[in-house]
């Protein structure tokens, strides 16, 4: 198998997002009938299901593992587990497919972290410095913000980080995360809020300003301006 093409340059993110469009990244809920058909053995529906979730699962795995091959391995393993469980009657669809899928993914990621920590591949000072040094060379304020956020995530507790990543990388609803982690929604919301505050406090004033300006919608007169 040849080395797959990757787009790791943060500068290309905007262009990539433009090409992909919101439909690919913003999680469109997979219709229950597709899930049912896929789990019943319909190959087309299965393919649709895999395409719908692969990107979100990959983003979740990559955010934590920071290695393309490990993240890819997690995604492959998750779908292999699903296919295996379904074929042996180990799962009955009751409208909780997404939560089940992500629970498997979280367990696989935890396994990988355990293995990698034993061999010091993840979260080691070297790995962190490498992650920080890579995009900093671009001197792009957005990239600096992303690097700081990435480093900030590393400072959070495992539990808080998991919530943040399930919410933003996995694109899951709080209700789904609460069900998955077996916690009340209120508790989860409070934890998420605290984790966001911690991340904000880790950003420098200039990075906070960058994030703030990026988050603020453009003024109507700006939007109406023509080049």
């Amino acid at each position: 198998m040849g080395q797959p093409e990757r787009e790791s340059d943060p500068r290309a993110l905007g262009a990539q997002a433009e090409r992909d469009g919101p439909a690919q990244w913003e999680s469109a809920a997979v219709e229950p009938r597709i899930v049912r058909a896929a789990l019943a053995g319909d190959q087309d529906a299965w393919s649709e299901l895999v395409h719908a979730y692969t990107r979100r699962l990959y983003a979740l795995a990559y955010s934590r593992l920071r290695q393309v091959d490990l993240a890819e391995e997690v995604v492959q393993s998750v779908f292999a587990t699903v296919a295996n469980k379904v074929s042996t009657g180990g799962y009955a669809e009751q409208g909780q497919f997404e939560a089940w899928l992500f629970r498997i993914a979280v367990n696989r990621i935890r396994d990988q972290i355990r293995i990698a920590r034993r061999s010091k591949r993840i979260d080691s000072p070297e790995a962190l410095r490498e992650a920080q040094a890579e995009p900093a060379a671009t001197a792009d304020p957005d990239s600096e913000l992303l690097v700081s956020l990435k480093a900030g995530l590393g400072e959070l507790s495992d539990k808080d980080r998991e919530i943040i990543e399930l919410r933003h990388h996995g694109q899951m609803s709080f209700k789904q995360i609460a069900s998955m982690l077996d916690e009340p929604v209120g508790t989860l919301l409070a934890r998420h809020h605290r984790a966001l505050a911690k991340l904000r406090d880790m950003l420098s004033p200039s990075e906070q300003a960058t994030a703030d300006s990026a988050a603020r919608p453009a003024a109507p007169n700006q939007r109406l301006q023509t080049p």
Binding site: A17, Q43, T54, D142, S173, R200, Q208, A215
Partner: protein
Amino acid sequence: MTHNHTSDPSLQAVEHGLKALAEADASTMPRGLAERVVAATETLDAPMPVIRFSSFQRVSIGLAAAAALAVLALPIWLSKPAPAPSPMLHASYDADALELFELATASLASNSVDRFDALLEDTQSFDAAAEPDTSWLEESEAI
């Protein structure tokens, strides 16, 4: 799907940054990963339909299976000879009986002559004793 659940603009900004980070992480995904996953999972067995029964159905199926088993086993059970006593018990009884018999035989064999002699003596003494004492008659006749 990611909605802002906070009214704090600074936290909203962090959320926005996290969304951008998620997009950046997702963009590192190797091309064709989904296709490779589909191809890899196609080789697995096709899913089997999952049949689920209610409690009532489970009980009914269980009873029907038990009844069918009983009907099948009935002719075999009827044609079976009466059960013999436990071989262990039988052997135990045999051993006891044999031991008693041997003891009795040995006892009789060892004591038979003596007993016979004793019995003979007893009989003779009995005979002697059984002979009526007629001396008083002779004495009275003499008077």
